[in-house]
Structure formats: structure tokens, C-alpha cells
Symmetry: C2
Subunit: 541 residues, 2 copies
């Protein structure tokens, strides 16, 4: 017995390499005159969107960008950021979309680590990074986008001038190999140094289809960009919404009153956001029933039953998803079961607050013990969440050791601890890794600790997450001062804010005599966490 | 410049070979207790469905079936046919689902050409094929499914007895290479001999996702099996509905009154059917508004504006798709544009009766002239429809010449002639190939001609399509008798019915003195077609 039938080929007639470029190619063809992007008074049809992508790709090529080169972007959710998600791959280069909330030092690290040749930057964000650019030797050119009327303080070329280098000569919306990298997304690692998560054309394509299916996008979708595109490439949504032929509504900053206004005037049908953003929206005076079919896809932290009920009362269908940068954004979805409707609202929203089951397109998720055996599905035994397959990153860029470690046993180790319920749904309970998730943003506790101990008065410290009603979690520091030295809580916080992105500075600093330690001198963070989280069922929020 | 960044791998942790088996694996895990299949009073949950698939796959293995072997099925739309779509691939064998309307001779040809080792057959269909089984030497065993209380006339094993060979030992829902064959679907070729169209695991997976997206399936979908599963594997819907976790409602035969009853009692939300079936449904006395969100996906012939309006009046959303066996079923969809709503009903349904644009997941469709140049998008110039990519078959089984011919120029040649409208939508107008499409079934005119000339009184003949209100098209024959010989229209029709599937026999036979011919003696079929279709805008219906 053997494979007596193989297929002829794969013949290129019968096999197209998967890439999100195909999505824009199709929508430009099918929905040419349709509104692809709206931003304030600007509108681009799909034909114009595709044209802008070709022109930018040609300008990048004319500037020496070719296959495998990295192009960095530091932009809010502007139309140019959507263009980037297609133009950079169109010249077979790799998009590095950088978190706009990071500090200059952090951005410098990412630019150097990725080896980006070009940086496209908003002039309002330039002051953060400008002082660091001399320390990024590989960076050949800065392209500035000026919406705020600021004069760039470093030699640079204006975005519209840069485009003049390009042309409208068509480029094929095709790749020769779907397993090549399309983007690198930096994530706060547990080591304190950001790691570059590699996405492939194939992975991005398949994940975008899964987003379409689980968020139930359709050609009349009007998607509001409340989720930053620098987060896991906006969970692949720049590709998904373009694929289905919906409309992107861009947004410079998430101002709740503006969001409500846009929901009404643009007739928005879908948005993605961390629970923190939903809390701001639901509690804004402008909050009003959506008045049309409306889907809110949320992740970044477990949504509370309260916010789920509030969104439902406003008329939204809440899709609760969970994932990591390493899984292209969402990997699980809490599939709503029709039988839940029979229970009380309280029971139902509690069920919906669980992280759920694997995405369509993802391999089944597992919760495992230390020997990689499945934990019982009893809703009580904790284990680590592990994932694999087409929704898992190709690896960490230029970090084979970290990749090998993350992929040990043939599964990606999330570092998240969960229980597995009888119905197969997982529910996060705790975290192995030293990460705090604040408003959907990762903060490495080790990174914060390193910033704190760089203060001359500090001897040692430990940072843990503490629960926070609005942000989900915030960092709290326990600090031991050097003998005879003095520093106030405020001084230490200010010290951190000078070194890291501001959102990473602790909200509270407790000056203590000593930290709890093991007999071998290792700090027992769990003791501090138990203290901070006492009375709570979970150790994440 | 070169590829300076490649991804590490593809590491199996980050890459799962695409196969529809993943769909059942996920749904059995996520929707274990949910109703997967309903058939009369029988119900299978997803856990039971998956269990039935494992047991059948194990029974196949115990019977010597292994990778690459072909397993033929001749069944109505029963639960066992859904099981086949997973059980056969689960042992890496290839499913050959045979059209139940074919004649014994035709089935014999398919069994021999595919080299099937086993045949699973409904006892009600066995009499057609039984006399031919001695002429199929490769066939090792017959497995009968008896719903009608008929004793098999040939040595065979009952389906439930056969299952006893199997076990519940799990099998991995995985394949080692996504480009391997999953099924062979035989289609009436223009040469008169059925050709075996090869589908791959990858193609089936991607097409199923596209079906989910375009028919807007969701986990609460209840799908009624009015479309035969032997047609392009039911347009990949056995895989699609299983993937989304919906419910399959099986059906032995399409009886309009029963269909209406099931729509009500099973709370059906989706069905696929050729326009002919829709006409029967709309005109049945039991027709009543659907009373819930309802999607009708139709293909197989251009639906008339009349039937589109009728279905819409009953409350259905009509999704008009077009494709061929060679394209896994649908390749295009007539995407409904919101601006159409502003026009009159007449304009709108006329727009919707066009075949449309490429599927999400398909490469852009083209309409080309004989030199493979695009025809102008003027709604007037005709050209041939060509397709390529992941929605195109891997090739014809054991027929490299036919594959090369069909794929000439790197595109699959449909043989369908269309105009390309200004908005990018295609509209079929005519057919290059000698095919008649009757109620969604292909009939080769050459095959019918060969059957007619085998009558001793016939000298020569030509068969062309004629328009038919219910079936779309039906065969009409022009026959020249041998000098001095005599045969009536009825005799000739009866002669064909004895040789081919009954639906292939001509509805009308004109005994004529001579056929129109070129100076070199070639029959001018187009002259006959012009005569039959005079006064009509298109040459297909």
C-alpha cells in the first residue's frame, strides 16, 4: 500500500500562494468604486486604495527597498497605515509596525533589532524618537507624515514628496512562497527585551479569513479602527476588512465622544477593542443604542460580566476572543451557545467571559501540565495554555533560542495559566510569565524592575500586577532602598517614566524593609501577588 | 538585494497542512453535544458524527484501504454520505461520489476509470449497477446500505456489518501534505467520456471557508441537503457546514412538499440548489414565507429574474454563484451591491442574474479572446471564461493530456462564453463546449449523439440544447435516417434511454432530410442552435 495517487503538480494553474495581497487585488477589482477608507473628510475608494498601495510600493522600491528588507512605521491608525499593510508586502519587504506608546529608547531597540532601512513616522511622534535616530545606523531614511503642523527636527522627506519617487506601474499582487515573512510585531517579552514576532503571508491570510468568519464581516461591514494597527497588525483586520470589501474608518486617537459620533455618522457595524476601551465607551455621556446590527470583538484582557452586559444593552453582539502577539492576535473565541440564552443574564455573561475554544483555522487548543499532558476538563485544575498550527507565529526574528524555547515539545507555550471546563472552554486564571496587561498593552515586570533599580537610591525591587477597574491591571512596585538612602514613591515613578513608555511606570510604590525570599535568595513574587490580589478568585484581570 | 529574512521553518509548530478533517476535529471538540446531522428521526451530535467517521475509517483500513486508494459511493444525501466525506480522507484514501442518476454503463466506466477498490451503494440504486459489476475487476467489495428493504442481488456486506470490522481507536485528523487528492468527481466531458476531476485537501479546505463566508454560515446554520453531495462534493458544503458547526439536514430525495415541511420543522436557515429545484419549491402549494433569516445559494444555470423575485418574496436572500466541477463548485458570486437597492426590482434582479465576480479565495476571473487577451469590459464582447488558483482542480485523474489542454496558457478554460460588464461582473451568454445543462446536470451532446447513431435505422444526427422553462435546457436531436429505414421519434428516445441515464435522452427528435454542413462536411451545429434559440438574447438558459 502506498500513495498510488498523487496530484499532478502542484501546477501553478491550480495553486496560488496565499497572501493578503490577494484580498486587495480582488476588492479593487470587485468593489472598485466602493468606499474602502474614510478618515475625517478624506475618502478612498478601493480603486484609489489599491492605487495608493502601488504608488507607495513603487516609491519604496525606488528607495532601494526589496525582498526581505524591513520597513518600520510609527503612525496612529491613519489611512497610510492601512496602505503600509499592503505596500510593504507588495515589494516583498517586511512591515514593522511599532507601538506608538513606547519610549524613545524602546523604539531605538526595535529599529536596531529589526534592522529597518526606512522609518515612516508621524511628526507628532517624532520628538520621542528623534534623539535616538543617530544610534540607529542601519536606518537610511526618515519619511514624515505631518498632520499636526510640526517641522521635523531631523533630516527627512515628507510622505507626499516620497510618493513622487513612485509610479503607477502595476505590480503583481502575488508572492512566490506563502511561508515568507510579511511582518514583525514586537512584543514585551518576559526577559524585558522586546521580541520580534514573525508573521507569514500564509498565516496572515488564513487568520484574516478566520476574523471575517468569527466577527461575521460582510461586504457592508463598516469597521471603526479603535484597535491600534500596531497590535498584532490589528489582529489581521487591515487584511480581513479589505478582503471582505468592507469600509475602514480611520481614527487618529480613541476619544470616546468622537467614537460615538463616528459610530453614528459613518454607520459603523463593527469594532475591535480591549475591554478598557469598551468601559470608556459605555460610560461616556454620548453612549446610545447602536441602532443597527453591531459587533464588538474584544480581547486583551478578560472582559467583565459588567462590560459585556453594558455592551449588550447598547445592542452589540459581543465576540470575546483571546490570543497573543505570537498567535496573530486571537487564537480562541468564546463561541456563544444557543442554550446559554435559557440561563440568567448573570450565568450567560459569566460563560461568555471565558476565553473559549480554538478559532476556526486554529488547531485545537490545549491546557497542559508540566509534562505536556492535558489537564482534566474539570474547571479547577490549572495548566498552561499551548497552541500550534497556522495561527502561530513562524518564530522570533533573529532569536532562534527564544523560538526553540517557546516551541518546546512542538507547541507554542503561551505562559498563560487556565482551567479547562467540562464543555471544552478554557478560562484564564493566572500567568506564569512576568507580564502585566494594562489596557491591552503588555508590560514586562522585569523591564520595570530594571528601570527602578537604575535609581541610585534603590537596592532591590519587585514589580507585580495589581487589579485595576479601568485598565484591568497596573504595575505595583515593592522597593527596598539602599541603607541610608532616601527616595519618595513619586521620585521613583518619575524615574521610570523618564526611561520607559509612561504607561509602564508603576501606579504604586511601596517602600519596604525587605522582600520575601526563598532560602536560596530568590524573590517570592507570588507572596507579593497573593497580598495584592487577596480575596479574588483569579490572579489576572 | 535578496531574501535576507526567511522564516524559521516552516516549523510544524507553526504550520498545519490544510485539510477539511480539521473542521470535524474542531467541531467534535467545540460542539460535541450539538446536533450535527438530522435525518428523519435520526440525530447525530458532533461527537457521534466524529465517532461514526472514525469507526468507518477504521473499517475501511481493516478492509485494506490505505493512502491513495479510491472508495466509490453511490448514495442519496444520507448521513453515511456525510460520514464518507471525512472517513475516506481520514484513512488518506480518495472519495469518488458517483452521480446516482447515471446509467449502469456510465457507472461501470467511472468505477473502472477510478480503479475504486470498494463501492458503498444504496440497495435502491443497486439494480442499475449490479449487472455491470462483473466488468469491474478492481472492485473488491460491495457494501450495501438498505433503507428500502431490498435484498442485494450481488454478494455484498451490509453497511452496519461492515462497521463491525472497525473500531473506536482514534486516528489523527491530519494529513502530511495538503496538496494530496481528497476526492475525484466525475464530470460529463465534451468528448462524451466522463473525466475525473481531482480535488485536494488544501483546495477543499479553502473552498469550504469561502462557502462559509459567501453563504454567511454561522454556528446556528441549519443546512438542508437539497443539493446532491455527488455534485462537486456538494460544493464543498459537507466540509463547510461541519466547519462552522452548523446542522446538516439530510434528505433521501428532493420532494418539494417534504422540503417545505423540513424547512419548518427543522428551522432550516440555508439551502443550495439549482434554479430548477427553486422553481419546484416556489411553485409548490406548501410554499410559505420562511419566517426566519434564510439564504438560498443557487447555481447550475443562470437563475431567471422570475425565480429570484419569487425566492425574495418568500423572504430568502439569494446568493447567485457559478462554477464547474473543475472549480470545486462555485468560483464566482454575484456580490449584491447596496446601490442596487435604489433601482427597480426588475433592474435589480437582472443584475443579480449575472454570474458576478471571483470568490474570496479565488484568483480574479477573466474573460479572454482566442489569444488570451482580456476582452473589453463593455457588456457586449464575448470571450471565454478562464480561472486559476486555489479554486481550480489539481487536474483530471489519469488524463494528463486533458489536463494540459484544459490548463493551456496557465489558465483553466471553462468552455463557457461570457461578456464582461463595465462593473467587472461577468455574464454567461453561450457555451463553446458541447454540453447541455439540464436541472444542474451536465449532458454531453456527443454522448447523446453516439447513443442515437447506435440505433440501426439512424444514419447521422446532431444534438443541441433547447431552452426549457423548468429544466433550463433539454437535449433536442436532429436525425437523418438510413435510406429506406424507418424509426419514430419515440423509438429513438426509448433507444437512448436504454443506454444512458434517462435524463440524457432528448425531449424532441426531428427526423430531417439532411443536416447543415460546411463544404468540408462538418456538421454546422450553430445553424441548428440558431434555429432552436431564435428570438432569444442568450444561447444558454
Amino acid at each position: 500500500m502506498g500513495w498510488t495517487v498523487t496530484v499532478p503538480g502542484p501546477d501553478p494553474t491550480a495553486l496560488t500562494q496565499l497572501t493578503p495581497l490577494l484580498f486587495l487585488e480582488r476588492s479593487a477589482d470587485v468593489f472598485g468604486d466602493k468606499r474602502a477608507i474614510t478618515y475625517g473628510s478624506r475618502t478612498l475608494t478601493y480603486r484609489q486604495f489599491s492605487g495608493a498601495v502601488v504608488r507607495m510600493a513603487r516609491a519604496l522600491q525606488a528607495s532601494g527597498i526589496g525582498p526581505g528588507d524591513r520597513v518600520a512605521y510609527l503612525l496612529p491608525n491613519l489611512p497610510e497605515m492601512l496602505v503600509a499593510h499592503f505596500a510593504v508586502p507588495l515589494c516583498h519587504a517586511i512591515l514593522v509596525a511599532i507601538n506608538t506608546r513606547l519610549s524613545g529608547t524602546e523604539i531605538e531597540y526595535i529599529l536596531n533589532h529589526s534592522g529597518a532601512s526606512l522609518l515612516v513616522v508621524d511628526t507628532d511622534l517624532l520628538p520621542t524618537v528623534a534623539p535616538h535616530l543617530s544610534a540607529v545606523p542601519a536606518l537610511r531614511e526618515i519619511i514624515t507624515l505631518d498632520e499636526v503642523g510640526r517641522r521635523p527636527e531631523v533630516p527627512s522627506i515628507d510622505y507626499s514628496k516620497f510618493l513622487e519617487r513612485g509610479s503607477d506601474d502595476p505590480l503583481p499582487f502575488r508572492v512566490d512562497e506563502e511561508n515568507r515573512a510579511i511582518s514583525i510585531n514586537y512584543t514585551s517579552g518576559t526577559t524585558g527585551r522586546p521580541k520580534g514576532v514573525l508573521y507569514t503571508h500564509r498565516g496572515a491570510y488564513l487568520n484574516a479569513l478566520a476574523e471575517i468568519i468569527h466577527s461575521r464581516h460582510h461586504p457592508d461591514s463598516v469597521y471603526l479602527w479603535t484597535l491600534p494597527m500596531f497590535h498584532c497588525n490589528g489582529w489581521c483586520t487591515p487584511w480581513a476588512v479589505t478582503g471582505i470589501g468592507g469600509t475602514h474608518v480611520c481614527l487618529r486617537a480613541v476619544d470616546p465622544a468622537l467614537v460615538w459620533k463616528l459610530i453614528e455618522t459613518e454607520e459603523v457595524t463593527h469594532l475591535n477593542a480591549a475591554p478598557t476601551v469598551l468601559i470608556s465607551l459605555a460610560n461616556n455621556p454620548a453612549a446610545a443604542p447602536f441602532g443597527r446590527s453591531f459587533t464588538v470583538t474584544t480581547a486583551g484582557a478578560p472582559p467583565s460580566p459588567t462590560i459585556i452586559s453594558q455592551m449588550e444593552e447598547l445592542g452589540a453582539r459581543v465576540v470575546h476572543v483571546y490570543g497573543l502577539t505570537e498567535t496573530y492576535g486571537p487564537y480562541t473565541v468564546c463561541e456563544v451557545r444557543s442554550e446559554w440564552a435559557e440561563g440568567t443574564l448573570e450565568t450567560r455573561v459569566k460563560l461568555l467571559a471565558r476565553q473559549g475554544v480554538a478559532y476556526l483555522g486554529a488547531d485545537p487548543i490545549r491546557v497542559v501540565d508540566e509534562e505536556m499532558n492535558d489537564v482534566p476538563r474539570d474547571g479547577e485544575t490549572m495548566g498552561e495554555v499551548v497552541m500550534r498550527g497556522n495561527n502561530v507565529m513562524a518564530g522570533y526574528y533573529a532569536d532562534p533560542d527564544a523560538t526553540t524555547h517557546a516551541f518546546r515539545g512542538g507547541w507554542f507555550h503561551s505562559g498563560d495559566l487556565a482551567v479547562w471546563h467540562r464543555d471544552g472552554y478554557i478560562e484564564l486564571r493566572d500567568r506564569q510569565k512576568d507580564i502585566i496587561i494594562s489596557g491591552g498593552e503588555n508590560i514586562s515586570t522585569i523591564e520595570v524592575e530594571q528601570a527602578i533599580v537604575s535609581h541610585p537610591a534603590v537596592m532591590e525591587c519587585a514589580v507585580v500586577a495589581m487589579p485595576h477597574d479601568h485598565w484591568g491591571e497596573r504595575p505595583k512596585a515593592f522597593v527596598v532602598l539602599k541603607p541610608g538612602a532616601g527616595a519618595s514613591e513619586a521620585e521613583i515613578i518619575a524615574h521610570v517614566r523618564g526611561r520607559l513608555a509612561k504607561f509602564k511606570a508603576p501606579d504604586e510604590v511601596d517602600i519596604v524593609e525587605a522582600l520575601p525570599k526563598t532560602s536560596t535568595g530568590k524573590i517570592q513574587k507570588y507572596v507579593l501577588r497573593e497580598q495584592v490580589w487577596s480575596g479574588r478568585e483569579k490572579r489576572i484581570n
